[in-house]
Amino acid sequence: MQKTIIEVSHLKMNYYIGEVTVHALRGVNLAIGEGEFIAIMGTSGSGKSTMLNILGCLDKPTSGNYALDGIDVGNLNKNELATIRNEKLGFVFQSYNLLTRTTALENVELPLMYNRKIKSKDRKEMAIEALRSVGLLDRMHHMPNQLSGGQQQRVAIARSLVNDPLVILADEATGNLDTRTSYEIMALFQELNEKGKTIVFVTHEPDIARFTKRSVIFRDGQIQKNQEISDRFNAQEMLANLPVEEDFE
């Protein structure tokens, strides 16, 4: 059995909106091992986004335990959480969230800027390396508005990779992309996973989930299903099989 890097137990999350209490999570137990590729699925309001926020150390649960890489995250203060996010996590968002009028390279460098341990001359090399791994080396001096949606998301992935995180957390990372580009992005994630990266991928599309190794389905703040994907898609093959007419002449 591979090393467990995320362990969540009896996780509960309540929001108080006026007089109403919303139970976003009602006791979730989940363990994620190293090298896994997990899809967190569910309809809107199922609690999957709340789960991602907690996994991403952006939010603290009302009760329950969360251990990331053996660290009890529940006891950390705001600044310690920021350091954890900086050193152990990588984020990919649906809307890319790149800094406008800032080159791809500088966007990728961003997380390293907040890490005092990294010298400024290493920073650039690390960012170039990350861009190379997503195949955008030739675009490193381009601004986000000079890149296509798929390329912007690749820059965002490079940014999530640059600090060599334990886990990459992707939130609907293909949500804004067309089918072909989605497959390309999934191919990149599969490639990264094969190299050993742990990926947690939140999506509501069952098709996209089939590129992952295991799907965890949320419903009403609880895990409804947690199963291996038996008939897994290979993104490269899917891309090859896509009808050609999608490319407009």
Binding site: N53, G56, L58, D59, K78, N79, A82, T83, R85, N86, E87, F91, F93, N97, L99, T100, R101, T102, L110, P111, M113, Y114, N115, R116, S120, R159, N163
Partner: protein, 406 residues
């Protein structure tokens, strides 16, 4: 986050919105420029007034008669005849801080030379008067002791008088002029001193021995005022005290009685003028300072807009590991940069305006390095003060909300 990175981020953020940054800075630029310009103009005018006052004489101390209350009746100035030649002698004898002393009597009337005549003042004084009043002899000589004792009909004339009686550049030494039908022989001319602070022509005068003016023109025995010179500037206050003491003794005043004369020093006069112009300078500076505060509020406003606009950026920075303090610093550096940049440009403009104003008004420029330093410091403080709340708002954002902000 390293400081150099902060500067870099702030600069690129400001460059991203060039027009907005410049307009925001404009508030600070105008504020600083007007503070610098007005303080400099105020300081320049103060200095020029001081220079003019000090050119009136060297460490001068003047004694004038004070109107007295006699039997309940307030006496007018013209009736006051409390100062005498004995007082002058007493001051000379008893006041060690005084280096020179001269009596002064004044008369005014037409002075005539051939067909020309001119209204002017004749001052009766002794030979030290020129040195006390910082007048210099241009041609000829000053009257001597013998001429004073003999009430000789000799005089020195100022440039305005020469111009009007003899024409420009004429040499009147040796000529004779009539003043109230008394002929005076011109034995010297006085170098031009120009107008004084009050626009009074200091060259429109005739100097004659005080004995001559007293006896032959005014027919009086008292003197109208006493001009003296303290040995040094530092001694002028002491000189005032010595003269006061001497004259009280001389006039046999009881302790209960008020002075029947007034002693003032040039230093006091300078101080009085300085106080007036200081008040003016402060007033002008304060008005300009208000525009600086308005400029600061402009910065605050724009920083709030900037924080709101960049909410998602802030969310992202927080998500990838930026701490609240990092975000705070980032926005603070931005607002400080904005205000300092505006401040530097404002200082340049202010100095320029002050120079131009000084040239136009013929003043010397009083640009003080202190006011520039002050403006710079104030700008930094404004940057911190008005940048603090927007920056804190940014730092306290919740990363989840910020990332979802539309």
């Amino acid at each position: 986050m390293r400081f150099s990175n902060l500067i870099k981020i702030a600069l690129s953020a400001l460059l991203r919105n060039k027009t907005r940054s410049i307009l925001t800075m404009l508030g600070i630029i105008i504020g600083v420029a007007s503070v610098i310009a007005l303080l400099s103009i105020g300081e320049g005018s103060k200095r020029s007034i001081q220079n003019q006052v000090s050119s009136m004489g060297s460490n001068m101390v003047f004694v004038t008669p004070q109107s007295q209350v006699k039997g309940g009746v307030q006496m007018g100035f013209s009736n006051v005849q409390t100062l005498t030649l004995k007082d002058v002698a007493a001051i000379e004898a008893n006041c060690p801080s005084i280096s020179m002393v001269s009596p002064e009597v004044r008369g005014s009337g037409q002075v005539v030379y051939n067909k020309n005549n001119w209204p002017t003042s004749i001052y009766g004084c002794n030979d030290k008067y020129l040195a006390i009043k910082k007048y210099e002899v241009e041609k000829g000589r000053v009257f001597n002791e013998r001429e004073i004792t003999a009430s000789a009909k000799v005089c020195l004339v100022g440039q305005t008088v020469i111009e009007n009686l003899f024409g420009k550049n004429a040499d009147p030494v040796g000529q004779s002029i009539r003043y109230k039908s008394i002929p005076f022989k011109i034995i010297g001319t006085i170098k031009s001193k120009g107008e004084n602070t009050f626009g009074q022509d200091q060259d429109d005068l005739i100097l004659a021995p005080y004995t001559t003016v007293q006896k032959r023109i005014l027919a009086i025995t008292h003197v109208q005022s006493i001009n003296a010179s303290a040995a040094s500037e530092a001694l002028s206050q002491q000189a005032v005290e010595e003269i006061t003491k001497t004259l009280r003794t001389q006039h046999k005043l009881k302790d209960s009685e008020e002075n029947d004369f007034e002693v003032r020093s040039q230093e006091e006069l300078v101080k009085t003028f300085s106080t007036i112009s200081n008040v003016l300078t402060i007033l002008l500076g304060a008005i300009a300072g208000i525009s600086l505060i308005v400029g600061g509020i402009g910065i605050m406003n724009i920083m709030y807009v900037s924080v709101t606009e960049r909410t998602r950026e802030i969310g992202l920075r927080l998500a990838v590991g930026g701490k609240g303090a990092d975000i705070l610093k980032q926005f603070l550096v931005e607002s400080i940069l904005l205000s300092i940049l505006g401040g530097v440009i404002g200082i340049l403009f202010g100095v320029l305006i002050a120079k131009i104003a000084a040239t136009l008004m013929g003043w010397e420029t009083g640009i003080m390095i202190q006011s520039i330093l002050l403006a710079f410091t104030v700008c930094t403080v404004i940057g911190v003060f008005f940048g603090w709340y927007p920056a804190r708002k940014a730092a306290n954002l919740d990363p989840i909300d910020a990332l979802r902000y539309e």
